[in-house]
Every structure is written in C-alpha cells, then in structure tokens.
Amino acid sequence: MNKNNSKMLTADEASKIVASSVIRRRKKDARLKTYGRIAIGLAVSFLIFLFVSIFSKGIPGFFQYYVTLDVYLDRDRLDPKGDLSPESLYNGDARSIVLESLYKVINPKGRKEKKAAKKIISSNADVRISKMVLDNSKILGKTISITFAVDDDIDSFLRGYIKRETPSSERRINDTVIKFVDKLSAENRISYKFSDYILTGSASRSPEIAGIKGAFIGSMLTLAVCFIIAFPLGVATAVYLEEFAPKNRITEIIEVNINNLAAVPSVVFGILGLAIFIGVFGMPRSIPLLGGMVLALMTLPTIIISSRAAIRAVPPSIKDAAYGIGASKLQTIFHHVLPLAMPGMLTGTIIGMAQALGETAPLLMIGMVAFIVDIPGGVTDPGTVLPVQIFMWADFAERMFIQKTSSAIIVLLVFLIFMNAAAVILRKKLERRW
C-alpha cells in the first residue's frame, strides 16, 4: 500500500490491481460461505445421527417375540378356591400349567433340560393367564392357544444380538435353550409382533414385560400440577409487573430476580425442593405433587417473561378505547388485554411445559427415581416420570432395556414435538399483528 501511495496511479493501473485482487477476494467470500454451509451441515447431520440412532433402536423396542402355546386351563388348578377371586387365582398353579404346555411341545428330558426350558417364557406368563381368566371365566376348562412374551435373553437371541456362533460358556443362554427355541420356531410358534407391554405395562426389572404406562401417567400428573401452579402465578405476576407495579426498587429487585431464576441450573431447583419442601415442610418424597411444584418454580420465569412480552404487544389504542367508554383499569385488563394477549401467553406456557416434561435432574433429587411398580392414581401417590424412567432404564444391564429405553425416548419426543407444534400453530393462528 505504501508503495502505491508514493506515486500516483493512473486509473488504468489502479483498476488492473483491483481486478487482479477481485478473484482472490471473491474466493475468500466463497470460502466463508462454504464454512457456513459446512457448519449447518454438521449441526443438521448431528441431529439426523441422533434421531437415526434413537429410532433405529427404539422402533424394534415397540415389538417383541412371543411364543404361542396351547394351554389347557384346568379349572381346579387355576382357581383352587373356586370363587374366581384374584387371591384364589394368585394361589393357583398357572405357572406350571404354562410350563407343562411348553413341555408338551419341546419334550425336555431330565431335570437339566426342564430347567433350561423354564428360561424360555417370561416370568409374567402366569399373570397373563390370571388376567385372561378374570376377564372371561368361560375359558376355564378349555384348551386355547395363548401367546406369551419370551424371556428377554431369548428375545435378544432371536434378534441376533446373542450369536449362535459364540461359545456356549460366553453366552447368556446355553445350547439346550437354543435347541428348544429352534424347535419352537420350526413349529411356527414364535411370532414377532407389537409389544403388549411397552405402552401398557409399568416399571419392572424384567425387560420383556416393562412398560412406560406408570411413568407416563406420572408425567401427566406432574405436568398438570406444574400447569395449575405456574400458569396462574405466571400470568398474575406478568400482569402486575406490566400494569400495576410502581417503578421503584422493589419492582426492580423482582425483575432482576426473575431474570436470575431463568439462569439458575435446573439441578438447583431440585436442591430447593429437597431442602425446603421435603426438609422443612416435611412433604413425602417421590410424589407428582412435589415434582410439579418444583417444576412450576422452574418454569415460572419462562411463563412470566413470555406473558409480559404478550401483554406489551397489545396496542395501547385498545386500552384507550376501553378507558374511553368508562371501563376501570382492571376491567380493561381482564376484558380486553388478557384475551388479546392469551395466545402469546399460552405459547410461552406450552414451551415452558415442554421444558418441564423433559426435565430430569431436579426430579432425581426429590426421589422420583424410586422403583415404583404401582401406577400412580393421584398427585399424592408415589410415582416416577418418563425422563426419569429413561434414566433408570439406561442404567440397567439387560440388552433389551436399550431398545425399551429408546422406545420410551420416542414416546417422549413425540409428545414434545406435539407440544411444540401446538405452540407454533397457536402462535400462527391466533396471534394478531396490529
């Protein structure tokens, strides 16, 4: 540059210098554009990789292997008291009836082979029979074909995760079991169909009968509590701060506070729940009521911030019109501002609820990680939630739990997508531009 400055350039020379640099400069420009494309491509491919890896494991998790057996439902053995009560069926001998019908097909010889055969059918088979009898007692005394879930190791074997070629000592199932399974599939008794358990079963240590129903209901109860607390409180706070709060130090402190709360890591809200709600107020652990309260405090800042934005977006002319015909301030707000701001508020609330639905860490701290088989019937029954269930299943060693976990994740993601789509549609449909 200095050299150029020292003597005057003719226009021709100058344009030559510029022209020669233009190609280089354009190339540089194209390079930046390519970097941008690569960055977006990377981000999107991570997203695709994530979804593919979860869906490829999760979709098979909705299906599982079943074995069909012809079972003779012996009235005296299934229902020893003869009154068809659940206790009587519980005391009955359903397990060995199932095993006997299995033995009829595969003919195990000796104790060792019988022991191996026992491993084929899920331990839940007797519950299935009892349930069928409870639903329809007319089947007693008849021989009907019933499908039972196979044990999780057999399921993994049929899926090919446990290889036939592996030496018997390193496999979770031995050669005898494999021989029996082959016999069953040769007779077309093994079938692969949509799982009866994943959506309707509750937590279990046996992966073949574990399901997400309990966790799902727990999630819904927790979310309901969270909504009932956070939505009115959030909207009320937003209205107060936007319309009534005097401009003074206290208001300022409240506003700074809300912004800070939005930045606090979620795990800290769990500590709050543990120390205050459980420690000081003595609330029981693991209940959806407590989980909902903690999540409500966590989502409150999101709701307040979006509600304030929605209230601010209502044009002052509408308020003035209401004041003009003699409405009081509160009437103006409740009759005009809030209905117009509602879509925006609901959008923010749905997004906050979606966050709450996927939140795990604070709920771990307040004990929603306990192993609970019963499906919660109310907000004060101990329960767990979907993300925590996913966390717990991810820790279990059985191969089949990986697929079940992925299936649970798919259910969670589908719900999140629904909620976010609802928020987007709501915003598009109802939001007015003035």
């Binding site: 997203l47 912004n259 979620s266 709050l272 003595g282």
Partner: protein, 461 residues
C-alpha cells in the same frame, strides 16, 4: 372426610356467598335503587371475603401441623434411641410414618406403635381443628362481608383492590423462590464449612466423599474422606471447554451463514432445525452420549492406538457441544440481525465483498452480543446435569486429558443427593456447598453477559 373434601366445602361456601351477595344486590336493583356497581361485583366481593381468610387458615394448619407433630413425636422416642450415636431423626420419622400408613416390615417395636397411634390421633384432631377454623372463618367473615352490602357500597373498587393485591402477592413468589434457593443452600453449606474448612474445599486436590460410612462405623479409617473440590471444577471446566470447541465454531458459522448468506427459504428450514437441538431433553442426549457416542469414540480411539476411557470427557463434552449449538447460533443470529443495515450498506458502497463486510464490519459491531451468547452457553454447560451424570462417570480424576474419565460438580451433586440421605453427614452437606459454588458461578456469568449486552445496546439507540 379428608383434606380434599374440606377444600371443596370451602369453595362451595364461597360460591354460596356469591349467590347471596348477587341476589341481595339484584333485589336492591329491582327496588329501582341505583347501585354503585354491577350486581355481580357484590357477589364476588362476599365470595372473596369468605374464601381468602379461610383458605389461608386451611393451608396454614395443613402445612404446619406436620412440622409441629414431627417435633412433638420425639417425646415418644425412647431415651436410649435419642441418645445413641447413630440416632437419625429422618429414619425415626419415616418409621413412624410407615406405621401410620399401615406399612409394616416385620415386628414393630412398642414405642413405634404407641407413637404412630398418637400421630393418627393428632392428625385427626388437626383435621377437626382445621375443619372448624376454616369453616367458621368462611361463614363468619363471609357474613361480615355480606353485611357490608348496601346501595352505596363501592363493591367494584373493593374487589379490584383485593385482586390487585393478589396479583402483587403472586409476584412475590419469584422472590420467595430465590430466597428459598439461597437459604437452603447457604445454611447447609455453612454447616459443611463448620466440619470441613473452606480452604480445603476450595483448594484440596482430592475429592473422595465415599469413606464417610466407613468412618462412621468406626472402622478406624478416619480421615480418608476428603473434600477437595478442585478435580470437580477441573472436570467441569474440561467438559465445558470441549463443548465450546464443538459449539462455538459451528454455532457462529451457522449464525453468520443464516443471517448473511442464506435466502429466506433456507432460513425458514434451517433455523427451526437448529432449534430442535435445544428442545431435546437432556436425558436423551445423555443416553445418546453413553450408548452411542462413547462406544464409537472408544472403538475409534483403539483403531488409532489411543486408549479412550469408556466414560471419557470427550464423549460427554462433544454431545454437550451439540446441545448448546442453538444457544450460540440463535443468540448470535439475533445480534447480527440487530446490526443496522446502514453499516452494511456503507461497507458494500466501498466495494467490499460480503466476506469483508462480515469480518470487518458486522462481527466487530456484534462482538459484545456474540461474547454474551458464548458466556450464556458456558453457564449452560456448567449447569448441565444429565449428560455428565450418564456419560462422564463419577471418577474424580484430576486430569486435563479429554480421553480420561472425569466428573463434574453437577454429577457429584446428583450422586450424593439421590436416594435416602442423612442431613447430618459431611457427605450430604458437601453437595450443598457444591451447589452454592455452582449458583455463584452461573450467576456471575449471567450478570456479566447481561452487562455486556446492555453496554452494546447503548451504542445504536
């Protein structure tokens, strides 16, 4: 008869008062008297008058009887248990509570049966007390409100006053939450620092709280538990750094591309796609990191002769980086869009290419905002819990090697506090001290980011 029926009863009473208030006002109106407010305001006024004090007393008794009883019940615990070295209030209370609910594990000691019977009696008495207090308040104060109704009574103004103060009260919840967080953390932390000196916590190089149990059991291994938090902070720092190495370049280049190069259609496709990354629950990322990315990295590492730990910082940091891409890209996108068009036009007017405008004009102008977005991403990464709990493991190694297993502050908090714990032990209390440092760090980062953004805003307005 339980708490719920009482609550429904209270609501019914206030509904009844609404009906009476409304009816009286209407009858006044029918006498051709000019009312001050619309009739339904009289009804709402009486209803609010009845429900607010009764609900208050209802909740007060509901919350505080449990606290009172759990202290009173200690009278029933035998002296030898109270004075024994491994006395634990939480366990004793749980024992009584289970007996109250009718859950038994084997034989109960006599005192538990007596205490639980006493507890049941107290609970019944408190419910009866609550019943009488709340109902009489709902009826009595409601009647006082009802008596106020006359033709010139300004009921609308009174109703509005009550509602506005209710709105004001709800905004205090946010402050109460903060106070709750601060107090719950500070009190327990102070107790922790009374046991373990703050200098050891802040500068100690080994984190090993696991020996607490052995120490208590008197196995003679005293002093083995150590609470030096440096390895945890190094682990947190390492994982956050890896996350930033992934997310900052990707996030920034995407933001520049989306705001400067992309056409409308590309923008409308890719911006929401990137934001999906922020909407995926962290437990899903944790699962992905632990079961897909970590084995991939381990296998990839062994192919080129590197020994990658199965719970390496690299896997957790990488996945966390993916998670925080949208935080950087959308915030940076916003600040880049906020740079006035006139600045760009001036650059193009001088014959600059897009690249030159971006690097010489837009980035410098948007830099404070971009830095703020990175700081916010850091605070997000530090506070992130599930990914590190599931993928980074619990080994408190003091290591800067991304291929090693490290642990983080949040992972330790979760591990220590999940499940049943005794509030008395140094191990439990250490989690609160960790939480305190975590809050302080994230708040400082947040304040600093807001400060940077504020400073930047002043330049263009």
């Amino acid at each position: 008869m339980n708490e719920y029926t009482l609550l429904i009863l209270l609501l019914l009473i206030s509904l009844l008062w609404f009906y009476f208030g409304n009816k009286t006002a209407l009858s006044l109106k029918n006498k051709q008297l000019k009312l001050n407010s619309l009739p339904h305001y009289y009804g709402i006024y009486v209803a609010l008058y009845s429900i607010i004090p009764s609900l208050f007393s209802y909740l007060l008794i509901l919350v505080f009887d449990g606290i009172l009883f759990s202290n009173l019940i200690m009278e029933f615990v035998p002296k030898e248990i109270l004075n024994s070295p491994d006395f634990n209030k939480t366990i004793v209370l749980a024992q009584i509570d289970n007996a109250v609910r009718g859950i038994y594990f084997g034989e109960q000691p006599d005192w538990v049966t007596i205490a639980s019977n006493q507890m049941i009696e107290w609970n019944n008495q408190s419910l009866i007390l609550n019943f009488f207090c709340s109902i009489s308040l709902a009826l009595g104060i409601g009647y006082l409100g009802f008596k106020n109704i006359h033709q010139e009574f300004r009921s609308r103004n009174s109703v509005e006053k009550i509602i506005i103060s209710l709105l004001g009260l709800s905004s205090i919840i946010a402050i109460l939450t903060t106070i709750g967080i601060v107090f719950s953390v500070i009190f327990e932390s102070l107790r922790f620092f009374a046991i373990i000196p703050a200098s050891e916590f802040l500068f100690g190089l080994t984190w090993n709280p696991q020996f607490e149990g052995a120490e208590r059991a008197g196995s003679g291994q005293e002093g083995l538990a150590s609470y030096g938090s440096v390895p945890l902070f190094v682990g947190t720092f390492l994982i956050s750094l890896i996350a930033l190495c992934v997310s900052v370049p990707i996030g920034l280049f995407s933001a520049v591309y989306l705001s400067e190069y992309a056409n409308k259609k590309e923008r409308s496709i890719f911006k929401p796609l990137l934001e999906i990354l922020a909407g995926i629950p962290t437990v899903v990322y944790g699962f992905f990191a632990a079961l897909t990315v970590a084995p991939l990295m381990r296998n990839g590492g062994s192919l080129i002769g590197l020994d990658v730990a199965s719970e390496s910082a690299l896997a957790a940091g990488f996945v966390m980086g993916i998670m925080i891409i949208p935080f950087i890209s959308s915030l940076s996108d916003d600040v880049i869009n906020a740079v006035p068009q006139s600045l760009r036009d001036a650059g193009y007017g001088l014959g600059s290419t897009k690249n030159e405008v971006i690097t010489n004009v837009i980035i410098p102008a948007a830099l404070p905002g971009i830095i703020a977005s990175i700081i916010l991403a850091v605070s997000r990464a530090i506070g992130e819990t599930m990914i590190v709990v599931m993928a980074a493991g619990l080994a408190a190694n003091l290591s800067f090697n991304p291929l090693d297993a490290v642990t983080t502050v949040t992972a330790q908090i979760v591990t220590i506090l999940v499940g049943d714990q005794e509030f008395e032990s140094a191990k439990t209390l250490s989690a609160f001290a960790l939480a305190l440092t975590l809050i302080v760090i994230t708040l400082i980062l947040n304040f600093y980011a807001l400060h940077v953004v504020k400073k930047y805003r002043e330049q263009y307005e």
